[in-house]
């Protein structure tokens, strides 16, 4: 039993729903109680889809238990087939139905439906949403795809984009264009936009582009083994990664590596003098493994930030992220407990968080700006405008998105100069954001104050005033460092001198 308030991932059947909702011509019959229908709103409200997800919930009740639930499932299957006439159906159980052991998969298979029925076994008490999506796509592909003649021209499948994915809609467009630039057309994109019939044509492609390992890796591995299709290992997020991706595709296909960089702006924006202020900004990176790995590289190599912490919530990526953290000289945080993540962020006191919607809230509480780089995301992360993460336009978008929450170059200097000005003080936040974005209490949160109280160090009022002149985003860190410094030396008072001695001591 584990107490949880907010979760990064939903249960595995929500992953299956993401696959089903991304596709057309597929229907999902889910043995589940009525409350589980909340999942529909993830798609209709958060992602603003204009269709209901293609799912029938059996919505069994207590009075059905023991007698009728299996029957209910059977009728629901028949009714769904009648009404929606899908090309294929997936069937499975949510956490509650798993406990009553009706075996929906077995039942559906014996119903003699004239279409492929794919049973899903998604262990609700062990695995989570990403696994559910990955496994569902894998089962669909395994059942529907078969070896076949390759297309004459060189083609690729795009594998992994789902409904409710972070920018999947636009990444597809971007990657399709990248491939087109090399003369490669897309054979099938799955699950996003595919029909079950399309999946039977997967084998015609020469290779697979694994866009999101979280949701497409099992399918790609199977196709590599059974259909002889190699798949790409580079996720083209960021300038360097996009160039690597093009090189990898060239290697796989024997085509010339071609990349039209005429609209790429990130390198120049990063080089231009206004960006000097970005140098060494301390960032904390957290999200799903794939996006974190991409973001860390961009942060260090393309923005000139310093990565002071990184981690992921999906254990499936733990090994990869640990290795990456080693390369960055930080310790990896592998946790799906947002309170752990919050504590780690507070401890690292970064100037910018690159995270999920959870970290956006953490950032609000701690007074640290945050840009979102990974699912889970909320309604504002499904923008109306084109805003991919992948490819060269993705890189442009990332530059803008990450810089936006920060105080801009010259503005930062002015804030430092006029810190005591009544309306131009640093707590006012970036001038291009309406309202007080950064709250003054932020650095005085109990979490950060706790050590000071415990150790009994007194701040002399002069020193305290001096502390307030330190920019808000490093103030918490400065405070704790100074207190640690005083403790080490057995001082019970902190004067202005102590403050600056500590500063010199910790100088990087």
């Amino acid at each position: 039993m584990k107490l949880s308030v907010w979760t990064y991932e939903g249960p595995p059947h929500v992953g299956a729903l993401r696959v089903a909702t991304a596709m057309t011509g597929l229907h999902y019959v889910l043995h589940a109680p009525q409350g589980d229908t909340y999942a529909d709103l993830l798609f209709t409200m958060i992602e603003r889809r204009d269709h209901r997800p293609p799912v029938t919930y059996t919505t069994f009740q207590a009075r059905d238990l023991g007698s009728d639930t299996a029957n209910l499932f059977r009728t629901a299957c028949e009714a769904a087939y009648e009404r929606f006439q899908p090309q294929a159906m997936i069937v499975g159980a949510s956490c509650t139905a798993e406990l009553i052991q009706d075996d929906p998969g077995g039942m559906a298979e014996t119903m003699g439906m004239p279409i492929p029925i794919i049973p899903l076994e998604l262990p609700s008490y062990q695995r989570k949403e990403n696994f559910g999506a990955d496994e569902t796509l894998f089962q669909l592909v395994r059942r529907l795809a078969a070896p076949m003649a390759r297309s004459e021209a060189i083609t690729a499948n795009l594998i992994g984009p789902t409904a409710l994915g972070f920018r999947h809609r636009d990444d597809i467009t971007e990657v399709t264009a990248l491939l087109e630039g090399m003369g490669i057309t897309v054979n099938v994109c799955a699950p996003y936009g595919a029909t079950p019939e399309d999946l039977t044509r997967l084998g015609a492609a020469h290779f697979n582009v694994l866009m999101y390992p979280e949701t497409g890796e099992a399918a790609c591995r199977w196709m590599e083994r059974e259909l002889g299709q190699p798949f790409t290992k580079t996720v083209p997020i960021g300038v360097g990664a996009t160039r690597d991706f093009v090189a990898e595709v060239a290697r796989i296909t024997g085509l010339e590596a071609r990349l039209d960089e005429s609209r790429l702006r990130l390198p120049w924006y990063s080089a231009s003098v206004d960006s000097t202020y970005l140098t060494g900004k301390r960032v904390f990176v957290f999200g799903d493994g794939t996006h974190v790995a991409s973001a860390a590289r961009i942060a260090r190599d393309e923005m000139g930030f310093e990565v002071v912490g990184l981690g992921c919530y999906n254990r499936e990526m733990a090994r990869k992220i640990r290795a990456l953290a080693k390369e960055f000289g930080v310790e990896a945080l592998i946790s799906d407990d947002h309170l752990d993540v919050e504590a780690a962020i507070a401890e690292a006191a970064p100037e910018l968080i690159l995270g999920t919607q959870m970290e956006r809230h953490t950032g609000k509480r701690l007074g640290i700006p945050c840009a979102v780089i990974s699912a889970p995301v909320h309604v504002q992360d499904f923008p109306a405008r084109y805003s991919p993460q992948m490819g060269l336009e993705g890189a442009n978008v990332i530059f803008d998105t990450w810089v936006h929450p920060l105080v801009m170059g010259l503005e930062e200097h002015l804030l430092t100069m006029f810190r005591e000005d009544f309306e131009f003080h640093d707590d006012a936040g970036p001038s291009h954001h309406g309202g007080a974005h950064v709250r003054r209490e932020a650095t005085d949160t109990p979490a950060q104050d706790a050590p000071a109280e415990a150790e009994n160090v007194i701040w002399l009022s002069e020193a305290e005033r001096e502390l307030k002149k330190i920019p808000f985003f490093v103030r918490g860190k400065a405070k704790r460092n100074t207190e640690a410094f005083a403790n080490e030396r057995g001082l019970d008072e902190i004067s202005v001198d102590t403050l600056y001695e500590a500063k010199a001591h910790y100088a990087r």
């Binding site: 107490l3 308030v5 979760t7 409350g35 209901r52 029938t56 008490y125 809230h361």
Partner: protein, 428 residues
């Protein structure tokens, strides 16, 4: 005072046939109530014993993370808990100890059952007893079920309040108990009105804090503010309290009828009541009239959601001039909504339960001007060209009593208004 609302219909819906549906439901489970209950009861923590699905429902239905440190959480059952049951009790105790150590402000703890905890027959009432003994007197531990196999959406609040009733101290005092978790602003207005019409002792269930003295006994009359409180109604009657039947206090008419019924029960004469309510009544009418300009003559279709559908249909047809085509509701407590059904003119299909696909067919065929439905259906229906109002707002927003009557009507007129305003075609 002149009559602004029409006289009661000659034939209301009291005896109208009810279309009973037992197909796929598209409604939240009772856990959802935690989202408003934890704001209302300020020293309570709601601990769901459930699965990752339950945790995910709470965070999705809450509009996700609006509250910095919410007073709810889910103890997520894992493989190991499912294997041995004795274990699960200990595990729960451990989690509760940890929680209470961290949150010293908590005075009441609700263990909330879910589908998984019920299917594995995890005995939460035993757990609550053991934990109560362990943490008394500082923290009281109660339990109820918010599971989707037992409760539909607002029935979670009913189960929660009903669970509180047996623990209320006995009292013989003559008093009114107002029952239902309302936003503070609406609740305060009601308390003020009740005081001014001369009811001296009024208590509220649920109280905002654990130490509020809420007793119950044979001299307690209770008035419900929400139509879904059937279980609480029975629990209070078992404690000897007496229900004051009345239309629910939505809109000017409902509020007036509700207040008059309560006053009658306390032997207060109507002249005294009218002196107090004349001014707010007039304000409420004026406020409603504005929205009614948009709503009058429009057709209305309710998907089942909160059980507030029948009283709201009464308000929207009688005070706003709408025409109800179908009033779907998850469950009809005849004893509670009879006064509203009586006022609702015959005509609409009254449906109980749901078979969502069939109901969608009926809705598409009727093409109502306004469809009230859940979050899963709203955008898809909008995309089909229908105008919708999402029902969940009705439980999150202050909509009761006079001063909110205009806001209530506004919730329904806004979507229509918006559709009128948008001009996206080329000018020529």
């Amino acid at each position: 005072m002149t009559h602004h609302t029409p006289p009661p219909p000659t034939v209301g819906c009291s005896d109208a046939p009810v279309l009973k549906e037992r197909g796929q439901h598209e409604v939240f489970c009772g856990l959802t109530g935690i989202i408003w209950l934890h704001r209302k009861i300020q020293d309570a923590f709601f601990l769901v014993v459930g699965s990752r699905t339950c945790a995910h429902l709470l965070q999705s239905a809450a509009g996700v993370m609006i509250f910095a440190e919410p007073r709810f959480g889910t103890a997520i059952l894992e493989e190991s808990d499912l294997a041995g049951l004795a274990d699960a009790q200990d595990e729960l105790e451990r989690e509760v100890d940890r929680l209470l150590a961290r949150r010293t402000d908590i005075r009441q703890l609700f263990l909330v059952g879910s589908c998984p905890s019920e299917v594995i027959k995890l005995d939460l009432s035993r757990a609550a007893e053991r934990l109560s003994a362990r943490h008394a007197p500082k923290v009281r531990v109660l339990n109820y079920s918010g599971s989707g196999i037992e409760t539909t959406f607002t029935e979670g609040e009913d189960a929660c309040l009903a669970a509180m009733v047996p623990a209320l101290p006995a009292t013989d005092e003559r008093q009114l108990m107002m029952v239902g978790a309302l936003p503070d602003v609406a609740e305060d207005q009601a308390l003020d009105l009740l005081a001014r019409i001369g009811i001296d002792k009024v208590t509220v269930l649920p109280a905002r804090h654990a130490d509020a003295q809420v007793g119950v006994g044979p001299n307690t009359s209770f008035a419900l503010t929400q139509p879904f409180l059937g279980g609480t109604h029975s629990a209070l009657e078992r404690r000897g309290a007496r229900h004051v039947p009345a239309p629910f206090p939505f809109g000017e008419e409902g509020t007036t009828a509700w207040l008059r019924a309560v006053a009658r029960d306390f032997g207060i004469d109507q002249a005294r009541v009218d002196a107090v309510i004349d001014a707010p009544r007039a304000r409420a009418r004026k406020a409603v009239a504005k929205a009614a300009e948009t709503l009058a003559g429009k057709t209305l279709f309710f998907f089942p959601d909160s059980q507030m559908e029948i009283p709201l249909a009464r308000f929207l047809t009688r005070e706003c001039g709408m025409e109800a085509v179908e009033v779907g509701t998850p469950y009809i407590h005849k004893a509670l909504v009879a006064p509203d059904l009586e006022l609702l003119a015959e005509g609409p299909v009254i449906a109980e339960g749901q078979d969502v696909e069939k109901q969608l067919d009926r809705c598409r065929a009727a093409r109502p001007d306004l469809t009230v439905c859940g979050l899963g259906l709203a955008n898809p229906l909008e995309a089909e060209g229908m105008t919708t109002k999402w029902a969940i707002e009705l439980v999150f927003t202050p909509v009761h009593f006079y001063e909110q009557a205009g806001d209530l009507a506004g919730l329904f007129s806004r979507p229509l208004h918006r559709r009128d305003r948008l001009r996206l075609e080329a000018a020529e």
